[in-house]
Amino acid sequence: MYSKDMVDLLKEIMAVDFVVYELALFLNTHPMDRRALEDHNNFARRSQELRAMYEKKYGPLTLGSVSEFPYQYINNPWPWEIRY
């Protein structure tokens, strides 16, 4: 139903997105921290690249992602069904 390659790429996205989130929370109370913002932007760009790579291979991560026919978003696996 899903491959180890898919799970590995998904986990990489999860890790990069966590860094983005953590830096964003920090920036909410430290908006003048230039280095944190640079890190945030670098990881945000990396997340966009990885998400585009994942979606091309394995299908949409969000309902706003462009989908092939038939609509791919509904397909398994859902996050709680995956063995990471």
Partner: protein, 190 residues
Amino acid sequence: MWYYVKKLQYPANVSRTDLGMAKFLYAQYGGPDSELSAAVRYLTQRYTMPIPQAKATLTDIGTEELAHWEIIGTLIYKLTDGATPEQMRRAGLGDHFTQHDNALYPHDAAGVPWTAAYIQATGDPITDLYENMAAEQKARTTYEHLISLTDDPGVIATLSFLRQREVVHFQRFGETLMLVREYMNKKHVF
């Protein structure tokens, strides 16, 4: 508004079915200091926060709490997957099975349903931020209790991640409190 992203914030794995642990984890799915309480608390309080840093912090931590609620739900789902009524009964989940089968439901470890009475929004940003800092500590303590109740490495890793997030959120709320206090002092609202 929100968009769902088909991923968890942390790769939550379990090694085996463990209905007893699933029962305990309900503390964080629908208990007083659960991820659900945290999400509803912060996403409700944010409207009356006076400064942009506070509006952003409550919005984003509230959103992260929803992702944590999903992680706890995933652990419970995986720990109870395929359990028979008899197994549920022996693990103390017979009451749960009667009303919910193997579905999840927002109640605490003892089966008490979630209520908005667990949270407060006073309109006083100082008071609300103190409540949030206390809530993060209570959740951290609960995670420590839960970690001491299991030897499953996947469950321990996931709960350790969630415990660490409570520590970070406490820090961010503390910074937000200082910024709100500075703002209130500048306004001379006495």
